[in-house]
């Protein structure tokens, strides 16, 4: 599937609308981070990843590990738009019997879910394990893992970071959603993690930066990351929580808040007008 850059914006717009609809219908869920990561997910699933929506278990697929399970709505909406399952199913989010669990759960059978996750700080270790398998078996598939900036406060992230560099896992690309906020407020007030770039570099990683809402920059970062040899790469993607809906952009109160049906309509109108 060849997708041109100018089409990505339209896809991202549709994914944002479905994120808002599905969370509003659920009555709970993480709106801010899901909207903030939409452009990166769109780039990944429509441009970067080697994958087959019709064959989710394809052996040679790239693996996408979502360590921050709470932004499941962006994963689900992107998978649906990529063709893994019908878009209408997004309306079952967080409901009894749904394959779309509040945090991803593989045992509920949704195609495209690589990992059940939701307790922060675990996904990078799993990504390291998968990358080791690919190296051992001399496979070309890569592992991409998605992390929050607040998640950098978990000690296990740094255990995993150390091990990825130790085993020179250049088939592993981590992405940090650097929106500068977490539930309690700004990351620099809750627990400052700067200088973040220096930390990762000192742990033996290549560090790339990009604007997480600019498809050219996102694409460029991934191209560079894929060309990196003998060390893992982390992309620190500057993002805006709630991106696309001006009245909630950058507002950490929207980390884990769902819009009412009325708010959702307004948000969607705004997204439609902007495009």
């Amino acid at each position: 599937m060849t997708v041109y850059m100018n089409e990505l914006k339209q896809i991202a717009r549709n994914i944002r609308i479905d994120i808002i609809k599905s969370i509003a219908e659920a009555g709970s869920g993480h709106t801010g981070g899901s909207l903030g990561l939409t452009d990166i997910f769109t780039a990944l699933y429509f441009k970067i990843l080697h994958h087959k929506p019709s064959e989710p278990q394809w052996d040679d697929r790239d693996r996408l590990i979502l360590s921050i399970g709470h932004v499941a709505p962006v994963l689900y909406a992107t998978l649906a738009h990529a063709g893994y399952f019908p878009v209408q199913e997004l309306q079952t989010l967080r409901k009894l019997g749904s394959r779309l669990q509040g945090h991803p759960g593989r045992d509920h059978g949704l195609p495209g879910i690589e990992l059940s996750a939701g307790s922060l700080g675990q996904g990078l270790s799993v990504a390291v394990g998968m990358a080791l398998t690919a190296k051992m078996d001399k496979k070309n598939w890569r592992v991409y893992s998605i992390h929050g900036d607040g998640e950098m406060q978990e000690g296990s992230i740094w255990e995993a970071a150390m091990s990825a560099a130790h085993y020179k896992l250049d088939n592993l690309i981590a992405i940090i959603d650097r929106n500068g906020v977490q539930i309690d407020g700004k990351t620099k007030d809750v627990m400052d993690m700067d200088p973040l770039q220096d930390k990762w570099e000192s742990f033996g990683w290549r560090v790339l930066n990009c604007n997480g809402h600019d498809f050219e920059e996102i694409q460029q970062a991934f191209t560079q990351a894929q060309a990196t040899q003998s060390k893992p790469t982390v992309i620190i993607a500057r993002t805006i929580m709630g991106k696309g809906v001006r009245q909630i952009e950058g507002d950490y109160h929207w980390h884990g808040k769902a819009p009412s049906k009325e708010e959702a309509d307004n948000f969607i109108q705004e997204i439609l007008k902007a495009s």
Partner: protein
């Protein structure tokens, strides 16, 4: 019924290492993870034989558990062993979410279990691991009784299972008494001695002590049945209920906290189906301390003498319950 004899002492951790090595020879998907104490938990046999399949990850147990999950999700069969206190307790969240919720085939070795670790003291004596591991959905919990049985158990855990397995073993050499061609099935207890007066259900290293207690009680006229429960989860309800029906009193024996452990698992089966009087031999809600293994076992009542005393008193008391 056969009389079990000690063929010589051997540590169950060696059984673990030998079992992993044998399983790895048969299946190239088996990979190993080390957290700095590779030799101590007998994973060095595997690491030397298959260096390209062994990953040293340093003193970072949380990461080890996640890496094991990633290896399993991509088709490997990872074995990660460290001291039980770290394997089961330091990484409980990683085991719960990454390993158990994903229901991946990761084999976790809980080494140096129990108070018999000795002089290292309370920090290194895993006395809570059974309770914590058995409460996790999808987890299988194994607790073999000697090195021979550990070799078999770990090979089954690696070769015949699909989900997560926790296998518990100890540091000190203990009597070797089970047969290398024994009938061993995960989830099935083994009746080692007949008897209809009372049943002693034991797990791990305490099985030998339970047998010795029963042999001595036999001479005093109490015919105790002895059952080895090497699989704590899923537990063999059938053999437990048969013991409850036929002997009408049950003692459980474990080198672990009484609360929430093996005895509790047996009690859950008993109270729901066929209540009979029970008593428990184990650690009574306390930490251990430094000392020689045999001194500690004696001080904390993990001996054949304690088993005999509790068995006698429950045997005489059971009449009043009926």
């Amino acid at each position: 019924m056969m009389h079990f004899e000690n063929r010589g002492n051997k540590a169950t951790r060696l059984g673990f290492g030998e079992g992993v090595l044998e399983a790895a020879r048969r299946d190239s998907r088996v990979v190993g993870i080390g957290a700095d104490i590779t030799g101590s938990v007998s994973m060095d046999l595997f690491a030397k034989a298959f260096p390209e399949r062994f990953f040293s990850l340093g003193i970072a147990e949380q990461n080890c558990m996640g890496v094991a999950t990633g290896l399993a999700l991509s088709g490997k069969v990872p074995v990660f062993s460290t001291y039980g206190v770290f394997a089961a307790l330091r990484t409980t969240d990683q085991i719960r979410i990454s390993v158990c919720y994903n229901n991946v085939h990761v084999v976790i070795g809980g080494a140096h279990a129990g108070i018999s670790v000795g002089p290292d003291g309370a920090t290194h004596q895993a006395l809570e691991d059974i309770a914590i591991m058995r409460v996790l959905p999808n987890m299988t919990v194994l607790s073999p009784c000697d090195a021979t049985q550990t070799i078999i158990a770990v090979q089954r855990a690696i070769g015949n299972m699909k989900g997560p397995v926790y296998i518990r073993f100890g540091r000190e050499p203990v009597p070797e008494f089970t047969h290398e061609h024994q009938e061993f099935q995960i989830g099935k207890g083994q009746q080692l001695k007949d008897g209809n007066d009372i049943s002693i259900l034991a797990t791990g290293h305490m099985v030998w002590e339970a047998l010795q207690a029963a042999y001595q009680l036999q001479q005093e006229g109490i015919h105790a049945r002895v059952i080895n429960i090497h699989t704590i989860k899923p537990i063999d309800e059938e053999i437990i209920l048969q013991a409850a029906h036929e002997t009408k009193a049950i003692i459980t024996v474990e080198e672990h906290q009484i609360m929430g452990g093996f005895g509790s698992a047996v009690a859950e089966v008993i109270v729901k189906n066929h209540p009979v009087p029970m008593d428990f031999v184990g650690i009574n809600d306390s930490f251990g301390e430094s000392g020689k293994p045999d001194e500690l076992m004696k001080l904390y009542g993990l001996t054949r003498e304690t088993i005999m005393t509790k068995t006698q008193s429950l045997f005489y008391k059971k009449e009043t319950f009926i």
